[in-house]
Amino acid sequence: MRKKAFASVLSVALSIMLLAGCGNNAGSGSNSGSSNSGSSSGDSTAATATSAPTDAAEQSFEGEELSILVSAGWMDNRYDATIARFEETYGVTVDLQTIPADQYSDVLQTRLAGGTCSDIFWIQSNPFAIESVIVDYENYCIDFTGADWMSVIPEARLSSCMVGDTLYGLQLWHNSPEYIMVYNKTLFTELGITEVPTTYAELLADCGTIAAAGITPWFLPGADGWQHQLSFFQIGGVYEEATPGLYDSLNDNTATFAGNAKMLEVLNEFKELSDLGYFGEDWIGTSSTNMANEFGDRNVAMAMANSSYIQQLKEDTGTTDEFGLFLLPLGDNQNFPTNPAGPTMFGYKGTEHEDLVKAFFSFVCTTESLQEILDNSPSYTNIHVNDPDVVQHWLPEEEAFMASIDESKMLTPVLQTGTKFTNDYWMDFGADMIAFCQGTITAEDVLSNMDANRAISAAIQGDPAWN
């Protein structure tokens, strides 16, 4: 009997010990949180922050940690100095969690669904993205409506940050032409190419000339998983031109990607360039990390990049070559890739540091921070914000290029921004393009897969046009 009692006690004790390990420390966390948020008006560091709009002297976050979940390439080093000042001003630490681009979406969604998201998270936003990417935004996002920093965001970008009248996101991005063709003008001239290609036939011929000289015509980093599909989506204007009203039809589910002749034409042109080796011997296994060196060593002649990349290229490689810009002529496109969208940061509603998150958003929107972010962005020449005190650094090449484009060619936004649920399957479409280039699926499959994927998103979100 005594043995039985002993065994019972031991079993209960064992259960308690095991269950203790499963318990969370929410209680202790909130205690420490409340002690941290207690007033400490004597914080001299906070008091000296002259440019921080938040009343840092009254708010102390001493010892707290702010975590930020971001995809590689969206913050890079350009926020480092601002984050360091923020840490110093508020006596906090910032934990920057940078995830490789090809894994970011999966990681973010898993962490949002699992309730373990960082205090601040980023998405590649557009007018549809908050609803289609974050989906349950009311549960996941802090409502910033009425925040002072809203006025910093230009009108064109607000639709990527708001749902209805509610402000959720902060988008600080540049306004340079995005992902157009950057080419080595000196090299082109040396090879006898005096005019930039404006049609696919001309591009093909120029690529042939460049390849014959032992140079990779077009550097395309397929291993990144997110770059090569830009060549399909950035020329949305050409699809709309070929089928007027296409964007609206795609958005009300009266048109599909599948069967679109212009899209098929572009995909087939892309494959032809791939088959001819004009993207390099192993573009599918190539990442963008070495792109600047490849340009600097004159191993490549052109690539899809932002116009301001020219500046970074010159700084990184010290090349004396001249560079220029032209519109991607797949499908004979001559439309400008208008895209008032970009990486956008959101506050996670489940955070224990909501005030600190708000302080961070306000902090990065000060003139000092905005200037700092721009000045520390070697690949960007401007930051698109409503702040006349920020000094922009536009390149002459950019200004000349922009001036050369007819305004009527700037009206249609890029395909991924202008149509619903398209950007959600960015990576899937990229994988399909590679599968198409490797001959395992057809161009028609690539397009119909996008339709099927969009339908899944639409069904999940209960879009009336699909249901």
Partner: protein, 293 residues
Amino acid sequence: MKKNKIYPIWFIIAPLILYIVFFLTPSLLGVWYSFTDWNVRSKGIINFIGIDNYIQIFTSNIDYSSGILNTLKFTLISNIVKLIPALFLAILLKEKLKGKNFYRTIFYLPSILPFLVIGLIFKSILNFNDGLLNAAFEFLHLDFMKQKWLSDLGVVWKSIYGVDAWRGIGYVMTIFLAGLNAIPSSYYEAASIDGANFFHKLRYITLPMLTGAITINLVFGLTYGLKVFDIVYVLTNGGPGHATEVLTTYSYQLYANGAYGMATALNTILFLITTVLGVMIVTYMSKQEVRND
């Protein structure tokens, strides 16, 4: 006597409750969810939709079937490329070899490295343009050996098997070594006197006596192979294109896209395959063991 038999049950109760609450119940719930339309927008309203998710898996434009086949293929081949070399390595390192403990450690070391680290290192080593492996071939004037290790459809799976074997062989070898050490040396001595060569001893002594270790390795290898995710995810992320997608990478994508019902349906298929194959192997090997006894 009877009391002694009941006594250990008191110690089983606690872990059993935990097992039921935290493992069995969620697993069964997962099976239930696979028959529902549970998704990121459900907000607590989940509808029973029968086998729709399963129908979609086998009729969808996304080739889930190839993901299932790839998973089975990986399970089979990765076990072959690990078990056979590991067995011979174990036999080799059981002999009186100088520095055998050092070799054992070296072979075992990769298995303690996280997949993420291994994936990142090998991704760099296997890079076509500036990876170490191709550079080594170039240095040795063996340019014909250069490959697009992670982007060529004909090579990519071999690269994955190679990296997986590099990591896993030491672990499998260690289990074989434990089994080999339990075989009395007198058996081999008697066989030698009877004129048995290496392969005779392997066929009639080593393999029958190693049935237990082989079963363990097979079951571990089977469950590992069927639920493979990290090595594929880190090395190729299912690419190039969808060439190396497996069940779990598809399931992960579905979960990430908010289609939880579909994701759990895929997991249920994986669960069924694992259970059927696992039971078959254990039953077969147990019979072998009894026969050898």
